[in-house]
Symmetry: C2
Subunit: 403 residues, 2 copies
Amino acid sequence: MHQLSRAAENLIGQPMFAFLSQVKALERSGKKIIHFEIGDPHFETPPQVVAAAKKSLDNGETHYTDSMGLWDLRQEIRHYAEKEWGFMPDVGQVLVSPANALIDFTIRTLVNPGEEIIYPDPGFPTYSAVISYAGMRGVPVPILEENNFRMRAHDVKEKMSSKTRLIIINSPNNPTGSIMSEEDTREIYALAKRYNCSILTDEVYRSLSEMKPFSVSALDHCHERTIILYSFSKIFAMSGWRLGFAIAPQSIATKLGLMLETILSCVPVFTQRGGIAALHVKGKELTTRYQELKRRKDALITGLNTLAGVRCIYPDGAFYAFANIRGTGLSSAAFRDLMLDQAGVSVLDGTAFGKQGEGFARLSYASATVPMIEEAIKKMSKVLGASAKNKVPLFSPRSGIIP
Amino acid sequence: MHQLSRAAENLIGQPMFAFLSQVKALERSGKKIIHFEIGDPHFETPPQVVAAAKKSLDNGETHYTDSMGLWDLRQEIRHYAEKEWGFMPDVGQVLVSPANALIDFTIRTLVNPGEEIIYPDPGFPTYSAVISYAGMRGVPVPILEENNFRMRAHDVKEKMSSKTRLIIINSPNNPTGSIMSEEDTREIYALAKRYNCSILTDEVYRSLSEMKPFSVSALDHCHERTIILYSFSKIFAMSGWRLGFAIAPQSIATKLGLMLETILSCVPVFTQRGGIAALHVKGKELTTRYQELKRRKDALITGLNTLAGVRCIYPDGAFYAFANIRGTGLSSAAFRDLMLDQAGVSVLDGTAFGKQGEGFARLSYASATVPMIEEAIKKMSKVLGASAKNKVPLFSPRSGIIP
């Protein structure tokens, strides 16, 4: 038999893709499913973005380009950054890349196998997936419901060691939607400085929140240790375009660019032309989408809190609800399977996002309309009715937790 | 300062991209350059491919998809494989991915840091770039002009050890255009079997040769140890689309797919729709392109062999000439810089492809028309005229070498 590398043995991928395949197979077999499993806006990519990509294709822009990204797009990103983060990076700090790949590139550019990376648990699965296959030591920081799922500097501090090379923060957070406080963010920056390590700030949900999160990049303008990770996927409904960017200290951006060059050569020009058009989409064009997401959030959180054995904090941002399902007496995986099987509702188990996700389910409201949400709640309610008697609060409701 | 990982310190990228940036900067400053540096067909992507991608964009296919690739494209690849390689792989053996990334994924999926990989020198720079940053031990096999640049089993055998995990072959070869003999290919397969290691057969230039190369995949139909790497870039002039595929033993294909999922999530659907259209492009639609490439090859090889201090074997395939420039008395780098500076002709130094490339220059005729080639030869001739007296044959011309 083939001998595989240790990296191959430790590949776990993104479990939600495996689950998505399973759900799609069920649908092909004729079962009707209401989708809450994947963080993929069902909105369409703005028409001017599609038009720009098509024009680029028509213009024959189908050849190699600069590994760091199109000069024009990098310039646009500088101006976008000034509006979005309040500072204008040098062009050498800007790298165009699929955002998910930037997690891999950043981790492997900054951390040696065996060294430590602090990351949120529950958190976006790519963090732990990369750490696992690439052989670093992952140090998860628990993100607790009792803290409104906010990552706290106090908890990060307890995990810091002389081997810590990178802290990953994600605000708004996937899967909980929580936004870190400015105070915690500043303290985490101070910790990173004391231990001379870098911070990857995954801000792909930045624009999907009612309050603007405080970005750690304000503290060094990405000149010292902060690397912003941003994606066109969520805010512009471009998940399938595989387009994002990093803003990083120039020496790190150069290395990230070399890694992109080594692995991908470059990002397609026509995709990047779409990116330029996206950065010109007016905020008001997206407003109706935000309003729609807000209506869905309200319907979903309200609905979830009516279910026997379920309760759910009202999330700060992103488009996820992270529901506590302990009162059902079911494990996360059992809850997920029961909902898919009996209610025709596909949710993700909290454990897909880390050990701390046990007892929770993630529901994305990116793809489900309000009527679909209401239908799903009804169906879930029917299935869960019998387990209502199991509803046991784990702690007293506090501010921010809808009882 | 930031601490970088050992991987980051060992990133070398693809040197041709750095040189291309330098050439483009010269052009922006007003200098006229004739391009032989990059292996990027200046032909346009076939219109039906562009149309398919545009239709997909219009249809809103801008969301996540299966990490292994679109089911429809994987099915098309199975049928294409039957025509191209004479066997139909199982769908589980087929992975859609940027081809360059497959080099990285394959190496890291099969080989641990410290283990050995045999690869051609000169060879495509991504092989050694990945081996370098990922910490494997690269074992280059010299590809010699005196063997018409053909990789020989005899030379591979000498490099095999108990630590060899992977042999990379590339036929037609970049940068020399050489095609391996069936006999050598069979012997290399036998060696791989004896040492229980895998073979990555990079066949991205397969269709760009007058004779069809013998593929090592004929020996196991990619069930045992052979991994075909194929790209849409060269044959369909789709270099900027970043699209290719692997055919591999299913257990390996699954791991490659998990690595793609971890790093890239998936390949854009609209790009893959272009791929489906490309596989339907009729051979005769490409015939005029092949004929044009043949005319260029004849003009370039003839021209090079008139230059003082330069001689060039007539290549079997691909769209590269690998010219021996030792008679000029210049190093490869000095020759490249002299040509760019004095003749306005951009070529790549042979050393961009490995140590064995010293004394050689690679000229791609993918982008230069016959009149451009003739003009370039004139300009080079003027610059080299003075060094004609240095023309010293290193060995007697033999069959296949134009004197």
